[in-house]
Amino acid sequence: MDRNQSHRNRRRVLKTLHLTALFLTMMIICIPGLWIVLNSFRPTVEIMAKPPVWVPSFTLDHYRAMFAGAGEGGVPVFSYFRNSLIVSVTSTLIAILIGMSGGYAFARYRFKGKNGYFVGLMLFRAVPGVALSLPLFIVFAKVGIIDTHFGLILAYVAMNVPFTIWLTDGFFRQIPKELHEAAEIDGCTRWQAFWQVEFPVARSGVASAAIFAFLTSWNEFALASQLTRSVGSKTMPVGLLDFTAEFTINWGGMCALAVLMIVPALILTFIVQKHLIAGLTFGGVKG
């Protein structure tokens, strides 16, 4: 056979393999999400059916039940949503403010023990959050901030700050120091130079750090399930547990609430998508 032809064939085969592998990977990633969305619209009988029902029917029963009163299988969705929103947004804002200041300091200033601090912060990330739940529970209970927004926000800020510092440090490091020097010569104070020049340039990085912090708080379950217990403070992931009873799990209801949880996160991710991609590829871009 012609050698060109054989190379062409080989390329074709490789491309087919490549696409198949991609398809399989995406399937593994996407199917659980799809399963959740589909099941939130199916009757319970169909979800549990063996053999499975391949052509799904459509019902809004789970949503209706979820928003119904407490006695009729409903859960306080709005309270949970509000709690999640308050806790996530506040903890993200605080974590970004602290993390950005920290990241900037690590990137710009020389001080004693800098590397030690940095490694320490990163080590903190190595501690599994669940391992902290009992000590946190005891401390929070003693201090009296168990089952409050404040307690949860505090825990999430502590969880998110090291990561935010690490991420923003990288972004600020990419910005040449001459930029703030030029700004200072142009008449800025150090503070103005940061907000007028360095912050806008690092905006993408800060945005991606923020979305990571937000998603971490929004989706966090292990700590929240220990530190919150009443309707006034439970977040949505903890709210999912309302659908479990001693012997049964209301899969349909759980999926419906999960969909409500996913939607805002998806919308937010799409809004900041441009920044996110720019932020994550920041290092590869040369001025």
């Binding site: 001459e178 030029a182 200072e184 010569i185 008449g187 104070t189 001025g287």
Partner: protein, 362 residues
């Protein structure tokens, strides 16, 4: 009236001393170039004048006012950085107007000043572009525009041309010189390139290891270097230096060839070890020399290598065991190995003490 004065200015980084108490007076409207090899403290000195580095000792005065502890924004200076440091998120127009915006000047005034600067530097077409969409030379011009918009007392340039290619560098050099003629402000310019220093400066400040070695006009440094460092740093190709010993009215080079003592040389003792220095321009083959008055010594030397430059050819030859360069004006082809008779212009030769490297001049 903006004079800049440095008196006993010192910069220390911990134990390491980068600048050793330098004194310098810069007149109003003067173009001063700080030049020297990397690590000589020239950039540090400039950054101390700008206020970007703390001053460890001594005083920096701008326009009669001691500015040691003033932040950069209160010194009324502007600076052009080596990497331009344009604000990447702003258009050219916003970059140029940034300083005036920070100073809260009225919008009309900003537009007028920005347009004027853009006109001077030919940036009119580029006003709405972001820096990423500009070429190296254009970015350089924007950086200069940003500096002139505010009409500062002093311009500081930190190796502004070293990121450009050779051709553009020559162009921008001319533009900077024209700019100085237009704005007539004091300019302090840092470079490691002696050609830039020679072509741009009213006065050159040559630095080494945190000390000022010599201050003077380009021609003073070229014609009357204080030591061998200046002699080899300024001028291209660098000055030829050959070891020798004084013997009566002659210098014996490396124990083989003797040449008469130049009349310009100062008091020397018999048997003193010296370095005999002359530029390639002052060693020329007979028939291809620039005719000049003065004492001449003739030498027969064989050519080892040639570098034709068009109007002249550099000839590499061997004088008393040392490779030296000579210049052939009005050149003809020369084959390596060819024996030529050279004229050495004795009046233009230099004698340096071998130990201290200092020039011995009458």
């Amino acid at each position: 009236m903006t004079e800049v004065t440095l008196s006993k200015v010192v910069k220390k980084y911990g134990q390491h001393q980068a600048v050793h108490g330098i004194d310098l007076d810069i007149q109003d409207g003067e173009f001063v170039v700080l030049v020297g090899p990397s690590g000589c403290g020239k950039s540090t000195t400039l950054r101390m004048i700008a206020g970007l580095e703390d001053i460890s000792g001594g005083d920096v005065t701008i326009g009669g006012r001691v500015v040691n502890d003033l932040p950069p924004r209160e010194r009324n200076i502007s600076m052009v950085f080596q990497n331009y440091a344009l604000y990447p998120h702003m258009t050219v127009r916003e970059n140029l107007g940034f300083s005036l915006k920070i100073a809260k000047r009225p919008e009309q005034e900003i537009v007028k000043a920005v347009d004027e600067a853009a006109g001077i530097l030919g940036l009119d077409e580029l006003m709405d572009r972001k820096p990423a969409a500009l070429s190296g030379g254009q970015r350089q011009r924007v950086a200069m525009g940003r500096a002139i918009v505010r009409h500062p007392d002093v311009f500081l340039f930190d190796e502004p041309l070293s990121n450009l290619d050779a051709k553009l560098r020559t162009q921008m050099r001319v533009e900077i010189k024209k700019l100085h003629q237009k704005v007539e402000s004091t300019i302090i310019y840092v470079t490691h390139d002696q050609v830039e220093a020679m072509t741009l400066a009213d006065r050159i400040v040559l630095m080494r290891d945190g000390h000022i070695v010599q201050v003077g006009t380009p021609l003073e440094l070229f014609n009357r270097p204080v030591d061998t460092f200046v002699a080899t740093f300024i001028g291209s190709p660098p000055m030829n230096l050959v070891d020798g010993v004084v013997q009566g009215e002659t210098i014996v080079l490396n124990g083989s060839i003797s040449v008469p003592l130049p009349v310009t040389a100062g008091p020397l003792t018999n048997g003193q070890a010296v370095k005999f220095g002359f530029r390639a321009d002052n060693l020329m083959p007979i028939g291809h020399a620039v005719e000049e008055e003065g004492a001449v010594h003739e030498l027969d030397l064989s050519v080892t290598l040639t570098e034709p430059l068009g109007t002249e050819t550099l000839l590499f030859t061997n004088l008393a065991g040392v490779e030296v360069q000579a210049k052939m004006f009005n050149p003809r082809p020369v084959t390596p190995g060819e024996q030529l008779q050279f004229r050495l212009m004795l009046d233009k030769c230099h004698v340096f003490d071998a130990k201290s490297g200092q020039a011995v001049r009458g």
